[in-house]
Assembly symmetry: C2
Homo-oligomer: 544 residues x 2
C-alpha cells in the first residue's frame, strides 16, 4: 500500500483576503497560490471559534465549541475528547506537531484519573493529542507578574546558539526592534513595526518552524504521518525581520472596511468591543496603516518559507502521496468595523482561507477550482480520516468530509455554519452584567443571513446578500422579526443535533437495536402468546 | 463537628400520584407520608431524562442530559464527568450505594486512558462514582440471546441460601409466579400480576435492599456518609410477594387519564409511542386495571420497608444528623394518554415525588410544607454539597441548591425546567426518518406551557393552565405561534447557558481575568505610554 501523509499547515490570525489567491493585490503569495492551483480553494470556510484556543480545539477535535467546551484560550480540552491524533491513529497514521496548538493540560482532570502529566499519556492528553514533535505556542512575553508562556521552548536555545544571547531571546531579539536612538523596543507596540526585528530572517520563528518541519519530514519513516506545521505568525507581535518589515511600506494598502453608521445605536456587546483599547488603536487609520505592512511582511515571509517546505517535500519524494492543507485559526479585524483582533463574527474574523491539495489522481478533476460551498474547520478531521482510508467516528465528529468536493462526486449541501464566542474573560463582561457562565454568543450563517444569538441580549443580524460588508445590524429591525424567528429555530435545531452521546459508537448503538426482547425484556405484554417471536423464555423450573 | 449524613432514597418508575402524601386515596404510604410531614414536599419536581439511565445520570452528575450525554439506558457517562461521589468527597463525605444505578462503564474510554476496569478507579468510574457498596440493577432477565443484566448479583446467592434454589432465582422465584395449574409463569407478563411472586416478602428484592442498607448504616463509621438506597421496584416485572400482590385488588382504582381526541391528528412521534405494543396493552383498561394493583402493592411493600429503615436509623442514633431524601427517576404512564412506560414528557412521567427532610434546627421552619416552586433532579447535587458544608462546583453543576427552601430563606425563582428524550433506539425511529444521531426531543416547562422541541418535526405544546391533563397538543395551532416562538427562544437561551467549559473552575477563571497585560500580553497598543498601568516590561538588554 502506498504511504499516505498529510501536511496540515496552519497560520495564526491570517485573514483570507491577505493572500493573493484570495484577491489581495498588494501582497503576492506565489507559493500558497501554487497550492491553490494544485488543489481546491474554499471560498466560504468558517471557523467554529473566534479566538485561537477555541478555534483550534474545534480543528483538532472535529467538534463545535459547544461540544468540546474549550471555549477560550487556555481552557483545556476535556480528557476524554478524541482529537485528530486519536482519529488518525485508528487508521494507522501517526500525528506530529511543529509549532503552536494553544492547548493546555487539564491538570485537575488528570489528577482525578491518576494520570501523570509527564507520562507519555499525560503529554498526549496535555496537548490535545500532539504528544509527538515540538510544541511552541510562541508568545513568550514577560510582564510584571511573570511570563505568559509555559516552559522554555527549544527556540530559545536555538537563538542563543546562533548568537542571540539573552535570558529570553524571543523577547529581546525575535520580537524586539532597535529604534533610531539605539533603544531596544518591545515588538508588542505597533509604533515600531517599521523597524526590523532583531533577528536574521534565517533565524526567525517562521524560519525555525520551517527548518524543524523539514527536518521532521526528512526523518519520517515509512509510517503514514500527519504533520501539523503550525506557524505562530502573522499573529502579533508585529515584528518582522528584514527585509519583510518594509516590503509593503508606502504601498497602496486596502482601506479598513468600516462605516460611521456602525457607531450609532450599536449592539451593547459590539459597542463594548469597539471600546476596547486595541480597537481604539486600530480604528485610527494612521496606526492601522502603520501596522498592516508588517502583517503583510510576516505573511510574505511565511509564503517564502512554505516554498522551501514544499520544495523539500518534493525532494524527499513525498509530494505524490502527501495531502497538503493550509488554513488559519481565525482572521483579524485590523481596523475593519472599528475593531481590532478577533472575537465577534464578521467575515474578517470567521471566514478563513482553506486550501486542500489531494495528490491522488481521483482529485485531478478539481485542481485549481474554487468552491463556494459553506464548509468549516470541523470538516478537516473527517476529511483526513477518509483520506487516510478510515471510517470517521461519527458519534464524535460534527463536520463533514470534504473528499466529495475534492473528487467532485458531490457538493456539500450544508444549510448553515455555526461559530461561537465566550467573552467571559473580557474585562467588559461584568459591566454588561455577564457572569463567567453566560457571556456567550453563537453565530449561525446560512449563506445569506448571519444571525448572532447573544445570551441576555437582543440578537445581531446581517444580511450579507444586500450588505456584504456587514455594516448594518438588523437584529432589532422590526421588519426582520420573521427572519430572525426562522434563524433562531434553525439554531435550536443545530443545538439539539450536536453529538453529546460520545461514549456510544455506531456499532454499539446498532447492537442495542431490537435487542431487548431477545434478552428477556418483555415490556408491557399481557401474556406470552402476545410476544411476536418466540423470544421469551419461560422461567426455568427449579430443581426442587 | 457533628456528623452529617445523607440517606438518598430512589424508587424506580414511581409516579408521584401513587403516594398518599401526593393525593392517592387508594394506597396509603404512611412512612413516606411521615417523611413528608417532617420535611418539605416538592409538588413540581421534574426529572431531566425520561428513562432510567438518562434521568439517573442527571441526578448523579447534577447536569442536564444535553451536558452529560448519557442519553439513554446503558449509554455510559463520560469518564471525566464528576458525579455525586466526587462532589461529596470534596466536602469529606463518602458515598455508598445499595441497589440500582443503571450506569454502565465506558470501556473504550478506559482503554484509551489506560484505566483497568477492575481497579479501584475503574470500579469508581464504571458506576458513576458508586464504587462502594452493593450494585444491583435488578432486571436479571434471560432471553433467547442471553441475559440482560451484567454479572451475578449477591442477591442470587442470598436467595439460594434461603432455599430458593435455581440457576437464576431472580427469574425463577423473585419475579415468577405459579399459576392455578401449577405452571411457572414469567413475571414480565401482566396477566399473572394477581398471583404472588414466588418469594416470601422477607426475601424480596425490596426487603433484601432494605436489609442490606440497614446493615450498611450499622457498620458506618464516624465519617460523614451519603447512602444511596436505590430500589428496583415498583419498576416491572410487576411481581409482588404476598400479601402485596392482592392488597389493592378490587378496589376503586383511579382511571387512566386519556381522551379520545388525543388519537386524532396526533403528532407523529406521539402516534409512534401510542402504537408501541406496550402502549396497546395498557390502553386496554382491563389489562391496565389488572396491573395497577400490583404496582400499588410493590409501592406499599417499599413503604413498609422504609418504616424499618427509618426505625433502624433512629435506633442507630443517626436520625438527628441525617438528611433524608426520597424521589423517583421518572414516573409511568400506566395507560394515561394511551401510553405505557415512560419517555415523552407528560406529568405522569416527568413529574416525580421529591421529599427532603433536613434534620437541622434551621429547617424547622419548613417542616410539613408543600413547595410549589419548579425544582428538578439536578438540584440534588448542589443541595447535598451545600448541606455537607461544601461549595458547589458551579462550573459543572446546572441545578440550584434547595437549601433556601428548606430553610425558608428564599424561593427558587426558576423560569423553567427542561427534560430530554433520545428515542433513537426505539424501533420506530427509523420509520420516522431518524438516525441514531437526531432522534431527539427537548421539553421546556415554564409552569404554564410545556413546549416540546422535536428535531425534524413540528413541536408539541400543552397549556397546563387551561388543560392540566395535557390532552390538547397546541404544537400546530396557529393561534399559539407567538407563544411557541417565545418558548423556542427560551429553549435556545437554555441551550446556550449550559455548562460546557467544565475544565475551568471559578478560581482558575478568576485568575485569568485582567491578567494578560501583567504577563506582557499588550495587544494593540501603539506605544508603551499608552499602557494604562506600568505593566509592560521593556525588552531586556542583552549581555553582549
Amino acid at each position: 500500500m502506498t504511504q499516505k501523509n498529510i501536511l496540515f499547515i496552519m497560520l495564526d490570525q491570517l485573514r483570507a483576503d491577505a493572500l493573493s489567491c484570495y484577491g489581495n493585490t498588494v501582497l503576492g503569495t506565489p507559493n500558497i497560490d501554487r497550492l491553490a492551483n494544485r488543489g481546491v480553494k474554499f471560498n466560504r470556510c468558517y471557523v467554529q471559534g473566534t479566538s485561537c484556543g477555541n478555534s483550534r480545539a474545534s480543528y483538532y477535535t472535529g467538534r463545535h465549541v459547544r461540544s468540546h467546551g474549550a471555549t477560550w484560550n487556555g481552557w483545556p480540552n476535556r480528557l476524554d475528547e478524541l482529537t485528530l491524533a486519536d482519529h488518525l491513529a485508528a487508521c494507522d497514521m501517526s500525528t506530529y506537531l511543529m509549532g503552536k496548538t494553544h492547548m493546555k493540560p487539564d491538570m485537575a482532570g488528570m489528577n482525578r484519573l491518576g494520570i501523570e502529566p509527564q507520562s507519555e499519556l499525560g503529554r498526549f492528553l496535555s496537548n490535545a493529542g500532539f504528544g509527538q514533535g515540538e510544541h511552541d505556542d510562541g508568545l513568550h512575553t514577560v510582564g510584571v507578574a511573570g511570563g505568559y508562556g509555559t516552559g522554555t521552548p527549544a527556540y530559545f536555545e536555538y537563538l542563543r546558539k546562533h548568537g542571540y544571547a539573552a535570558k529570553n531571546p524571543w523577547v529581546t531579539h525575535a520580537n524586539a526592534m532597535q529604534d533610531e536612538d539605539g533603544i531596544l523596543r518591545n515588538g508588542m507596540f505597533l509604533k515600531y513595526g517599521h523597524l526590523p526585528a532583531r533577528v536574521d530572517k534565517v533565524h526567525s520563528e517562521t524560519a525555525y518552524t520551517t527548518d524543524r518541519a523539514i527536518e521532521m519530514i526528512q526523518h519520517m519513516g515509512p509510517q503514514n504521518w500527519c504533520l501539523h506545521v503550525s506557524y505562530i505568525k502573522p499573529h502579533w507581535p508585529l515584528a518582522a525581520p528584514a527585509p519583510y518589515h518594509q516590503m509593503y511600506r508606502g504601498m497602496d494598502l486596502p482601506q479598513a472596511s468600516k462605516c460611521a453608521s456602525q457607531k450609532t445605536n450599536a449592539h451593547p456587546i459590539y459597542q463594548a468591543f469597539m471600546d476596547l483599547p486595541q480597537s481604539q488603536t486600530y480604528a485610527q487609520d494612521d496606526y492601522r496603516n502603520h501596522a498592516l505592512p508588517t502583517y503583510y511582511g510576516l505573511i510574505k515571509e511565511i509564503d517564502d518559507n512554505l516554498g522551501r517546505l514544499f520544495e523539500s517535500l518534493e525532494q524527499q519524494g513525498q509530494s505524490q502521496h502527501t495531502m497538503i492543507v493550509l488554513t488559519s485559526d481565525h482572521g483579524d479585524f485590523f481596523g475593519d468595523h472599528w475593531l481590532a483582533e478577533k472575537d465577534l463574527f464578521h467575515d474578517a474574523v470567521t471566514r478563513v482561507p482553506l486550501l486542500i491539495m489531494d495528490p491522488s489522481p481521483t482529485a485531478d478533476v478539481s485542481r485549481g477550482i474554487t468552491c463556494d460551498d459553506l464548509v468549516c474547520a470541523i470538516d478537516l478531521v473527517p476529511t483526513f480520516v477518509e483520506w487516510a482510508g478510515g471510517e470517521p467516528q461519527w458519534h464524535w465528529l460534527e463536520g463533514q468530509s470534504l473528499l466529495p468536493i475534492l473528487h467532485q462526486t458531490a457538493i456539500i449541501n450544508r444549510a448553515c455554519v455555526v461559530s461561537e464566542c465566550d467573552y467571559g474573560v473580557m474585562n467588559f463582561a461584568q459591566d454588561l452584567g455577564r457572569s463567567m457562565h453566560n457571556a456567550r454568543m453563537t453565530m449561525l450563517y446560512d449563506g445569506r443571513y448571519k444571525y448572532v444569538h447573544c445570551l441576555g441580549f437582543k440578537p445581531m443580524l446581517f444580511n450579507l446578500q444586500e450588505d456584504p460588508q456587514e455594516f448594518s445590524d438588523l437584529g432589532r429591525d422590526t421588519g426582520y422579526s420573521a427572519i430572525r424567528g426562522q434563524l433562531s429555530e434553525q439554531m435550536l435545531d443545530w443545538s439539539a443535533g450536536l453529538k453529546n452521546r460520545v461514549t456510544v459508537s455506531q456499532e454499539t448503538f446498532g447492537k442495542q437495536l431490537n435487542k431487548a426482547e431477545q434478552v428477556g425484556i418483555l415490556i408491557g405484554y399481557w401474556h406470552q402468546d402476545d410476544v411476536p417471536q418466540a423470544e421469551q423464555l419461560e422461567p426455568e423450573v427449579p430443581p426442587n
